[in-house]
Amino acid sequence: MFVLLASLLLLAMAFGLHLALWRIRLPKRQIPALLCLFVAVFCASLATPFAWNNSLPNILHTALLYFSISLAYTGIYSGIEYDSPTLSLMHLLAKSGMNGVSCDEAHRILCERPFVRTRLDALIRSGLVAQKNGRYILAGKPSFLFRFILEYQKLYGPISPRG
């Protein structure tokens, strides 16, 4: 029971802090800040007597459930932070109900959202890319995480056409 209750309590604390802190001031780099928050909450819990008086498997099991749900939420969070073209369109259609939306209006509204430029800005903010003489260049060494994601794709074959 300890593992389940501890995980739920830690998740509740982390989400509560997340909502409170985000309302006070939105971090510049939201996903790294969110990950740091989840790690900090767990690390702080290790300093309590509840952790000292528990077995290693219990602590690790708590970490497994806590971090798996935290990472799942972080994966969803990028859909909250950035606009998904699909969900933006579906939200628009849901609001319009039986009236629908004209094809031209739907395309116009979506094209008004500069998805490519915001992604470039996000890469610059995260320090992965820099702008020099009007061109976007790599800042420092290629990100290990991005490289890993791309290399993993080779297991599946060619990526489908853009969109």
Binding site: L65, P85, G100, L128, I137, R162
Partner: protein, 188 residues
């Protein structure tokens, strides 16, 4: 005194590792399904991988629950109430990880910058990632999957799956970010 150094029950460690081992089976089956089974699309492969991993989880957990007499309640809580959500969350993370590489515009843009030492100018990106072409392709896919219905020059919501997801996401945006779109001016 910290008790963790004294824990040596192998069944306890097996319960701990079960979701991770199940995820490994999930990933392996999913990759094999895409590579070697004709007619398997990516989402179908996720389903196959998830089921295979879940079966592995059951195979690992059931014997522990059966053997663990006195501690049955704890075993049940760990084996079912902890491990099943952990496995589902890990599977979800894995799906996201795989889909990132296939659909994330940001990752593709980054990959092009990495492959071009002299840098890429914005115009090249806007030509290559033509916003209109991107949108057109997305809409075509949604029409094909019947998530959108096109009739007499207008679009209507079709299947409700993305509508429900959109409602939840936009509610979360309002609650957490105080706005519905990253392009809106923030008011807080």
């Amino acid at each position: 005194m910290v008790r963790f150094l004294q824990e040596a029950d192998i069944s306890r460690w097996l319960l701990l590792l079960a979701p991770v081992l199940a995820l490994a089976v999930n990933a392996g089956v999913q990759i094999l399904a895409v590579r070697f089974q004709k007619g398997t699309n990516l989402f179908l492969s996720f389903g196959k991988g998830f089921l295979a991993g879940f079966l592995m989880l059951v195979i690992l957990v059931l014997p522990v629950l059966a053997i663990n007499g006195n501690g049955f309640q704890d075993g049940y809580v760990l084996g079912v109430l902890v491990n099943v959500p952990a496995y589902m969350a890990l599977s979800f993370c894995y799906c996201n990880f795989v889909l990132l590489g296939r659909t994330s515009v940001r990752i593709r843009i980054y990959s092009e910058i990495v492959d071009t030492p002299e840098g890429v100018c914005l115009q090249d990106f806007l030509i290559e990632y033509d916003e209109r072409a991107l949108m057109k392709k997305r809409v075509e896919r949604l029409i094909e999957s019947r998530d959108i219905i096109e009739k007499n020059g207008r679009y209507y919501a079709g299947r409700s799956r993305f509508v429900h997801v959109a409602r939840i996401i936009f509610l979360a945006k309002r609650m957490i970010l105080g706005r519905e779109s990253e392009f809106e001016m923030k008011n807080h």
